[in-house]
């Protein structure tokens, strides 16, 4: 093989079928619940049926008499086993209140689903049956359900150990905000409700823990996105030395942030396995998960935009109430704070004030859910821009174009103080409008309005950006986040020329094995099939920051590239030595090292790998190894953007919203695997549309989750979603050598406002200017009723 036979990039940028899929679609999976260990016992939890109560007594004695039951413990029984409470790694303010969160409650339960006791039995069924024999005495306390009422004087407390329901107020003011509003020619003000959502990954959470046997090592398998973070946090929570704890994330089926956490059940299984000396397993049921796995969103957004006479934006005010739920989980308080940098979005303005109140209620804790803070911000600004355009009497695109950052203005320091490195909003918008047939649809809309068609047409726009690729450790530190955002990769060159890539990211559906193979294959010039990617086991990938925030490719893929570059640099040294040439004269292309000007003098990276293994002849100033590690910490976030257009048909008689067409033009920079990117966009759109039209977690006044199962919580399926037309523009990121931006969350962030803007646009002429989410038939019909009764909807 000579260099000329193989172009330098044969894998990156090309759709490769996913290496992961053969075993996933044929059922040869290692979901945590598929793991069975000899002598394994099964864990079931007794959960509070009350949103808020004193626990006056827990009696497990009758449960211990049940068939197959091996052990049963109350919260008090296990209280001495915790070295600390479950962690919150993001103390957003110095005075933030964070109640102690023990894995098993002892004297007070704070939401329906808070665990109070645990039963261990020989089978899962025996454990579930025995929980009904644990007697818990509750003394009911008032439930705090409504965020704003919770902050009123005299409100009952969600946690009796606190003196108020406010966890924190976080504020950031950039520019002269008062001047911006005092001198404004026009101000548009709205309140939006970003409803509570339930993540609903297909694979339920599951934990297996094996106690030490021949070594001191305890092994914990969990359906988690964050095996590395989990290892450290469980070591701290349970008082287990970190080096004696191995955490494995085997096949993991979806997360969307819900598995970016440190959960009570993980700590409980770890303690039980060590206490009982037996392996234990716990797997949530779907309705149990709906109570005890984190929820997302749940913010009240009061937002205002101030305009000049010429419709340029002067400034923006944002005041949020963010529902923390009953406890602060791993990054609960940080989620709304991420929005602080995103409300200004793609628009230029001189002032931005952002205030967020974190509020405790007696509900399931909230935490990161696909997009985490950015979907909320994007929804508010993209809805508000449409409302402002309506009030100012201009086309919504015209108002956007007047205010967005022009492509020649990048890099651009935003009012929020972060630098957007690249972008081209004009290009994405032009492409989206053309594919969508924007002008034709506007004409049809006018026609339907004129004819009084019961089915009205609406067009929704979302020109979004987001910040992802959570990396710059210094920036995360400045936001009081408890860890860095670097990522690690190792490359091991095997004697046969095959390659092992070890990544600190932890995939749960994203296809890292495929994409990282593509990066490594091109960087090393080896066949794609010769690369294996290992991940998710702290004994194998000893170091990592795991997967969330659309960071894996931007940071983890970058680390793979750098580790590969280091391998090539070492191999080049060996090649020069073996080919008896100066290192500067060695050229590397397509896996072949050759001497400049003498292409016949060459050797392959595989031959060098074998030579280094034999170690009979290698340069004196190096170790006999090509293996390399890289830990990278990009200096900036990445900023994907795009223009999404949605056409909805709204049946004014029934309130039914049907998406007729949806065009998503995303700019995620350079693309490693187009099909994986498209898949991420499709899934993201489905989740964003789900928030717009279908999903809402509803609590009653007593704090019971009314939408407690898939019977009442409407997750749309393919049958409910339209055909998506996706396309891309490509403006490379400058903060990493691959030029990539994240794509995991973009579709979700962009699509919710696109859909709601389309619904409002369809009904605007009927007096509808607002639409609560989800835009269910009931909500649409009631908005129409209110409008036709003369009130502004």
């Amino acid at each position: 093989m000579t260099a000329l036979d193989t172009p330098p990039s044969t894998n990156v940028g090309v759709t490769k079928l996913r290496k992961e899929d053969a075993h996933l679609v044929t059922g040869r999976t290692t979901w945590t619940d598929n793991i069975t260990l000899t002598g394994m016992l099964h864990v079931a939890l007794v959960r509070s049926p009350m949103a808020h109560a004193k626990v006056t007594n827990v009696d497990v004695s009758a449960a211990l008499e049940q068939p197959g039951v091996v052990a049963a413990f109350s919260g008090a029984d296990l209280a001495d086993n915790w070295a600390g409470g479950l962690p919150c790694a993001w103390p957003v303010t110095p005075d933030m209140k964070s109640p102690t969160h023990l894995p098993l409650a002892t004297d007070e339960v704070r939401y329906v689903g808070d665990a109070v006791a645990v039963v261990v039995a020989r089978t899962r069924y025996q454990a579930a049956d025995a929980t009904e024999h644990v007697v818990v005495d509750y003394e009911p306390l008032p439930a705090v359900v409504d965020m704003e009422a919770a902050l009123a004087d005299g409100s009952p407390l969600a946690d009796t150990s606190l003196d108020s329901n406010k966890s924190f107020t976080w504020q950031k003011i950039d520019g002269e905000i008062d001047d911006a509003f005092d001198g404004a020619a026009h101000v548009t003000t709205r309140r939006f409700i970003n409803q509570r959502l339930i993540p609903t990954a297909i694979e339920p959470r599951s934990v297996v823990c094996a106690p030490p046997r021949e070594t001191r090592e305890t092994t914990l398998w969990s359906a988690t996105q964050v095996p590395h973070i989990l290892r450290l946090m469980l070591a701290l929570t349970c008082g287990v030395p970190e080096h004696e704890l191995r955490v494995v994330a085997p096949d993991v089926g979806g997360g969307f942030g819900s598995k970016l956490n440190v959960y009570a059940e993980e700590a409980i299984c770890l303690v039980l396995a060590r206490k009982l000396g037996k392996p234990v397993k716990w797997t949530e049921t779907r309705s149990e998960g709906y109570q005890a796995t984190i929820h997302g969103r749940d913010q009240i957004q009061d937002v205002s935009l101030a305009f000049n006479e010429d419709h340029t934006i002067r400034g923006m005010k944002v005041e949020l109430h963010a529902d923390m739920g009953a406890y602060l989980q791993l990054v609960t308080p940080g989620v709304p704070i991420l929005g602080a940098f995103m409300y200004n979005a793609i628009y230029k303005m001189d002032a931005l004030s952002f205030t967020c109140h974190g509020v405790f209620t007696n509900k399931t804790p909230t935490d990161a859910y696909r997009g985490a803070g950015r979907p909320e911000a994007t929804y508010a600004i993209e809805r508000l821009i449409d409302e402002a355009a309506n009030e100012l009497g201009v086309e919504p695109f015209e108002l956007r174009e007047k205010n967005w950052i022009k492509h020649e203005e990048f890099p651009y320091m935003t009012v929020a103080g972060i630098e957007y490195d690249s972008g081209n909003y004009e290009a994405a918008t032009a492409k989206a409008k053309e594919i969508f047939g924007y002008d034709e649809l506007r004409a049809e809309q006018a026609q339907r309005r004129d004819s009084g068609d019961p089915v009205q047409l609406g067009i929704g726009i979302s020109t979004f950006t987001e910040m992802c690729g959570l990396a710059p450790s210094r920036v995360l530190g400045s936001l009081s986040y408890g860890a860095g955002g670097w990522e690690h990769a190792s490359v091991r060159m095997l004697p046969s020329g095959k390659v092992e890539v070890i990544t600190g990211t932890s995939p749960h559906g994203q296809g890292h094995v495929t994409s990282w193979s593509q990066i490594a294959a091109d960087a090393l010039g080896v066949p794609y099939e010769d690369v294996e990617v290992r991940h998710g086991d702290t004994n194998v990938a000893h170091k990592g920051m795991d997967t969330y925030g659309s960071r894996s490719l931007v940071v983890g893929g970058y680390a793979v590239q750098v580790a590969c570059d280091k391998v090539v640099a070492k191999a080049k040294k060996v090649a020069a030595h073996l080919l008896e040439a100066a290192e500067d004269d060695i050229e590397f292309s397509g896996g072949t090292f050759s001497v400049s000007g003498s292409p016949d003098a060459n050797t392959s990276i595989q031959d060098i790998s074998l030579a280094v293994f034999a170690a009979h002849d290698y340069p004196e100033d190096m170790e006999p190894s090509l293996d390399s590690d890289a830990t990278v910490d990009p200096e900036n976030f990445s900023y994907p953007h795009g223009t999404h257009l949605c056409a909805t048909e709204v049946d004014t008689e029934t309130g039914r919203v049907t998406i007729r067409s949806y065009v998503a033009v995303d700019d995620v920079g350079k693309v490693i695997n187009p099909q994986i990117v498209e898949g991420q966009v499709h899934g993201g759109l489905a989740q964003g549309i789900a928030q717009a039209l279908y999903e809402e977690a509803v609590y009653d006044a007593e704090g019971n989750l009314t939408t407690g199962s898939l019977l009442d919580y409407y997750v749309p399926s393919a049958a409910d979603l339209p055909h998506f037309t996706t396309d891309r523009t490509e403006t490379p990121a400058t903060s990493n050598p691959l030029g990539v931006k994240g794509v995991g969350e973009a579709g979700t962030i962009a699509s919710t406002p696109a859909v709601i803007n389309a619904v409002v646009d369809a009904l605007r002429h009927l007096g509808v200017n607002d639409m609560p989410m989800p835009a269910s038939p009931r909500n649409v019909w009631e908005a129409l009723q209110a409008a036709s009764n003369g009130g502004a909807a």
Binding site: R124, S287, Y694, P716, S776, P777
Partner: protein, 283 residues
Amino acid sequence: MIPATFDYIRAGSVEEAVSALTEHGDEAKLLAGGHSLLPLMKLRLAAPEVLIDLGRVDALRGVCELDDGRLSIGAMTPHQDVIDNDLVAQHCGVLADVTRQVGDAQVRHRGTIGGALAHGDAASDLPAALLALDGTVVVQGPSGQREIGAADLFVDYLMTSINDDEVITEVRVPKLDGSWGWNYQKFGRVAQAWAIVGSLGLVKRSNGNVEEVRVGLTHMGTVPLRATAVEQALAGAAIDGIADAAEHAAEGTSAPTDLNATTEFREHLARVLTKRALTAAAG
């Protein structure tokens, strides 16, 4: 989703099922397709001590013509078999069309017509269809068989007039001649959800007029209902009277309020969907 412990009896015949029911009384439940019962058991909302499985009683499957001119559908006939059956297609296509909208593909292949009717859920599709068709079910108990008309079958929320020791063996529906048209408007949140409201319109056309009309309503009360005021207003009337007649669709209903709809919205939907169903049925 872990059900409580139960015993399992596989019935080899209707007689064996009846005798097991007699023995275990209200501690027993019949297992047909299981698509309503098993979810309730997994949520521990139902905890029968004994399940009597009818799955191997082959005599309860299939469709035949009765001497009196009606069709008989075995109670354990899966929904998909009803949809695919030639006799149903030829003589009572409305039943196939409604059944096609039951649940999802998995439910339609496992769930049965008899099971769906015995469950008696006013939010499911087949009870209102049987009512609109003036169909019947044949039940067998210790003292023999009896036939129950749809109007007498559904008593209250998830409650039928079938006794604890009786098994549905057949569902009987009339044959409809070619002058009948029909349309079922099922209105739900997502593709596989129960109807918020459903309206089944059946129209017998005669020289541009409506000779006879039947309207079955889903989820407008604790039991499936007929929109009798619409039927009366439209009988013998011209087809262009449908819109006015449909305004009566919510009369006599007692629609529930839940997250998906208030009573008021359900009543509104009943009117709109009945108008649409009858218009399509008459077209």
